[in-house]
């Protein structure tokens, strides 16, 4: 028998070698090299070197794993002591397929912890969207509107305070709206990374954090490869196809094509259908370029197009309708399942075109020039009557041009990066909606520069500093209704800006300028090869966005009227984030406490009164400033019971308070803990099971924004409370994922996943879902995913 033959051999051979990062050939420390089927494990040292002694002659399999990397398996046939070099790829599972040149922004931040999604984590959400994928990272939650619209929330902040950067450009897509998901397809990019600090000053000033989406540039070889993911899902009767193809040439030229096609019908909650909750997406992108030795060119074009149905029962006319919805346990509209998308709905599309030039040897540094254009169109359709039935209630087009130039250089003192940027942004609200503009027309210009420096000269410490200056010029053209104008006494401050008066409205043309200065300082202390400590301080200044200053309109889903505040000033935020990271044998953990302070000028929206309309009385919400204090902690913990069984826990807690009133802030994620157990059978290594158990506690800290409403009940007028504040109970969500593969299939490889979400078919509501007043979350789902590497 084979085993007895192996055991009869002398086991005195040595395997040694080095683990290097495929991106830049740097040694990787703290990688685990395990001999499958034994308990022999070695850990690479600071030079990436490792030694495994007492190995037997014959065939064996090594599993090489590292924090944030997918493990790599290598089969060896050992007949004498040997040395090997293994390359490990951060975040990419199959290093055979994807060959990578040096990533240009490999050092996003030398002193902050960078969270990267593994390919597996990313593909799991390939048909669900970016925010859901990011939620797998501790400290990240999703503020959703129904089941298909999600915004990432980092350390309690979202919207304009969280940046989404793709292909080095900040995504510009009306991100102020709570019911606006980022208009970007995560499948266009190979790398998804997140920094919870105050972002990277290279890209912008976002105090919550920044999400970075990157394409991996192909190597200078003749090659054709790609990947296709086909998914089908039971709940929603949906399917999707996502495919990308890369053709690269020895000359350094390459082209990458990517497309996403997605269709989902109505979803179901455990006890009822969620009427009008389907969605569809058609995305396409092309990346082409040439990597010369000194000159690099890159051009990128993408088109993103989505239609998202909004839960029918969430379309209400007035506050009494809202009260009725809150008092009812089930949605007030439940129809048979449909696959088409009815009203209300959102229809968004986003175009991007970028062109970039890099000179890798320009005055001993690297010079980049980039022009980028983005066009975002957002349409929201309500339930309307007559000839306006198919006319959107909101139709906004946002055109953004960016021009960036930066220069990176290294000296023996440190690494430096400095850049200048210029942006022009034009927002146009289509008047054919015949609904007054929620956001006025404006023309914004932004001009500025940044500088970052990293000092990595000593053995134990890395220091990093950055600064960014921005000058904003907003030219806003807004119609005010006379009633609002008089109520708010705008006559004195704004009379001089009135350019036209017409039909009880005034057209005001104002130019607002803001100058912001942000800086950060960080240190990373490598206490030992397995223990590091990061401390980062960020001082961020953010100009108020146009919605915060000028929004004006009715929100149907919450039956509230929202007004901007034209007197807002820039918002200054201080944030300190500390990361402790340690590995002790099979234990590995990271603890990330943070504190965020916005003194006096932190912008929030809060209820201020009631406005009577012919539809009834509506609560009015207005933007204002408070002093805010956010504090919290993220925990990441993992333990390998044995090479085939791994346990992972992530826990996030955040608390946010208006320190002027000592009241909690609204929509802050409750305590969440996520446990994940992954195991495989030693003999059957191409199969593994992943159990995921997510517990979300009830949010007990919330402000009371309830208001009274008189209704007729049993022939009497009684006053009831419209409870829009009380959070729902906590919930537990269990998921199971079965993965087979990859198996060879002709010249390709194929792997199959069966994913079960909400296995227990639990009925629950989610505090961070804006439609929680109307329906439960979706029930059990079964997803089948087939992945082809070609």
């Amino acid at each position: 028998m084979t085993t007895s033959f192996v055991f009869s051999q002398e086991c005195n051979l040595t395997i040694d070698g080095k683990i290097i990062d495929i991106e830049d050939n740097s040694p990787l420390e703290a990688a685990a090299i395990e001999v499958i089927g034994t308990h022999l494990t070695a850990v690479s040292n600071a030079n990436g070197a490792f030694v495994l002694r007492n190995q037997c002659k014959g065939k064996l399999t090594l599993k090489i794993s590292h924090l944030n990397c997918e493990p790599v398996f290598r089969e060896l046939d050992l007949d004498k002591s040997s040395s090997f070099t293994f390359q490990l790829e951060h975040k990419i599972e199959n290093l055979d397929e994807v060959v990578v040149s040096k990533l240009r922004v490999h050092e996003l931040s030398a002193t902050s912890k960078i969270h990267a999604l593994s390919e597996l984590q990313k593909d799991r959400f390939s048909s669900k969207g970016l925010a859901g994928a990011l939620e797998q990272i501790s400290g990240v939650s999703v503020l959703s509107t129904g089941n298909s619209i999600g915004k990432p929330v980092i350390h309690g902040m979202l919207g304009s305070r969280v940046g989404v950067v793709y292909d080095d450009v900040m995504l510009e897509n009306q991100q102020w709206g709570q019911d606006h998901a980022p208009n970007v397809d995560l499948n266009t990019f190979e790398n998804i990374r997140l920094i919870k600090g105050a972002g990277i000053l290279k890209y912008g000033t976002t105090p919550g954090g920044v999400v970075i989406l990157e394409s991996i540039l192909p190597k200078r070889v003749d090659s054709l490869y790609g990947k296709t993911i086909l998914s089908g899902l039971y709940n929603g009767r949906g399917y999707s196809a996502i495919s990308n193809w890369v053709k690269s040439y020895k000359s350094g030229a390459y082209i990458k094509l990517q497309g996403t096609f997605k269709r989902n019908g109505d979803f179901t909650a455990p006890n009822y259908n969620l009427t009008n909750t389907g969605n569809k997406e058609n995305n396409f992108s092309v990346l082409l370029g040439k990597n010369g030795l000194q000159h690099k060119w890159k051009a990128f074009f993408s088109y993103f197009d989505t239609d998202i149905a909004i839960l029918k029962s969430a379309h209400i006319g007035n506050v009494k309708d809202l009260l009725r919805a809150i008092e009812s346990d089930v949605p007030l509209v439940i129809d048979p399942l449909k696959s088409d998308i009815g009203y209300p709905k959102q229809a968004n599309n986003h175009y991007t075109a970028n062109i970039e030039y890099t000179n890798t040897n320009f005055a001993n540094g690297e010079l980049h020039l980039k022009y980028s254009w983005q066009r975002n169109n957002r349409k929201e359709f309500d339930i309307r009557r007559g000839e306006r039935k198919n006319t959107p209630s909101l139709d906004m087009e946002l055109n953004t041009h960016n021009l960036l130039s930066n220069y990176e250089w290294n000296t023996r003192f440190g690494d430096f990066d400095s850049g200048v940027f210029f942006q022009v942004q034009d927002n146009y609200s289509n008047p054919e909606t015949e609904i007054r503009r929620l956001i006025p027309d404006y023309l914004k210009t932004k001009l500025g520069s940044y500088f970052t420096a990293t000092f990595d000269n000593t053995k134990d410490f890395i220091f990093a500093f950055g600064a960014r200056y921005e000058h904003h010029n907003n030219e806003v053209q807004k119609f005010y209704r006379d009633s609002r104008w008089n109520l708010k006494n705008y006559e004195a401050p704004f009379r001089k800006y009135v350019v036209k008066e017409e039909a009880s409205q005034k057209l005001v043309k104002r130019t607002l300028t803001f100058n912001t200065f942000s800086f950060n300082a960080g240190v990373r202390h490598r206490v030992s090869p397995s223990y590091s400590l990061n401390v980062n301080y960020n001082h961020t200044q953010r100009a108020p966005n146009i919605a915060e200053m000028f929004s004006d309109g009715l929100h149907h889903s919450l039956a509230s009227i929202e007004y901007g505040n034209p007197f807002l000033e820039k918002e200054t935020t201080h944030k300190v984030v500390v990361d402790f990271e340690k590995k002790v044998g099979d234990f590995q953990f990271a603890i990330t406490p943070f504190i965020t302070i916005g003194k006096n000028n932190h912008i929030i929206i809060e209820p201020t009164g009631v406005e009577s309309t012919i539809r009834g009385a509506f609560p009015v919400w207005e933007y204002t400033t408070v002093s805010a204090l956010f504090k919290g902690i993220d925990l990441d913990f993992s333990y390998a019971f044995n090479p085939n069984t791994q346990f992972r826990n992530t826990t996030s807690w955040v608390e946010a308070t208006n320190t002027k009133t000592d009241l909690p802030l609204v929509n802050i994620p409750p305590l969440t803990t996520n446990n994940e157990l992954q195991f495989s059978l030693p003999k059957w290594k191409s199969f593994f099971v992943l159990l995921n158990s997510k517990t979300v506690f009830r949010q007990n800290r919330y402000p009371n924004n309830n208001f009274p409403q008189a209704v007729v009940e049993n022939g009497q007028i009684v006053t009831k409370t419209v409870d829009i504040s009380t959070p729902p109970n906590g919930y537990h969500d269990l998921g199971i994922e079965l993965n087979w593969g990859p198996y060879p299939l002709r010249s390709s490889k194929v792997s199959v996943s069966l994913i079960l979400d909400n296995v227990l078919d639990a009925s629950y509501r989610n505090y961070l879902n804006r439609l929680r007043f109307y329906s439960d979350e979706i029930g059990r789902n079964i997803r089948l995913q087939i992945k082809l590497y070609h």
């Binding site: 009494k320 339930i383 023309l443 119609f479 009633s483 012919i614 007729v712």
Partner: protein, 195 residues
């Protein structure tokens, strides 16, 4: 040195951009779909005398009105009715957002009869019965829209009345607002005085 050249070229491009982008004045939007005025004409079926009651929203702009966010419950319009009589109530909906071009939106409601319903919700206190009246509009399922209703009074009393225009009601039969579902397009209150 060469870095400066790039900075300059960026600046020049910036200026060119600025020169190219000049925004036109935005067009004024009058929300012609919304209702801004509701008129109820009450006709005594006995002597054919009639009276008009006009409801305008407090928050709405009219030349000489100012906005009020106060509870206006106290000064509700009073509709005077005699005991033991019958009246025809005809409700009509208007948009006069653009004062030069006031519109009667009632026809749009009639055109989409299946999607609309008018409902009067009464508190206790008056003996009034309400049914669809002569000349009312029927939808495709022969449900009356209640654009014209007959109010029959008996003994004297006072009741609060809330009139609703409901868009896409889930049913057209019911006795309270809750029974009808749908979204409320118009909600207005008055007092019915039977005396």
């Amino acid at each position: 040195m060469s870095k400066n050249i790039f900075k300059k070229s960026v600046l020049i491009a910036a200026i060119l951009f600025l020169a190219a982008c000049k925004k036109d004045d935005p067009k004024i939007i009058n929300e012609e779909e919304e209702f801004s005025r509701v008129v109820i004409t009450v006709t005594n079926e006995g002597d054919q005398s009639s009276e008009q009651y006009t409801f305008e929203v407090e928050g709405h702009d009219h030349a000489d009105e100012t906005e009020s966010t106060e509870d206006t419950h106290e000064d509700h319009l009073e509709v005077e009715l005699a005991p033991n009589s019958s009246y025809l109530f005809e409700i009509r909906f208007y948009n006069d957002e653009d004062p030069n071009n006031p519109e009667d939106v009632t026809q749009e409601i009639i055109d989409e009869a299946d999607d609309h319903h008018v409902f009067y919700e009464l508190t206790d206190g008056a003996n009034i019965s309400i049914e669809s009246g002569t000349g009312d509009t029927m939808d495709s399922n022969s449900n009356a829209l209640n654009l014209i209703t007959r109010w029959t009074t008996t003994a004297a009393g006072v009741a609060d009345v809330i009139a609703y225009l409901i868009h896409e009601p889930s049913t057209k039969t019911g006795t309270t607002r809750n029974d009808f579902g749908g979204a409320t397009d118009v909600e207005l209150e008055f007092e019915a005085h039977v005396e």
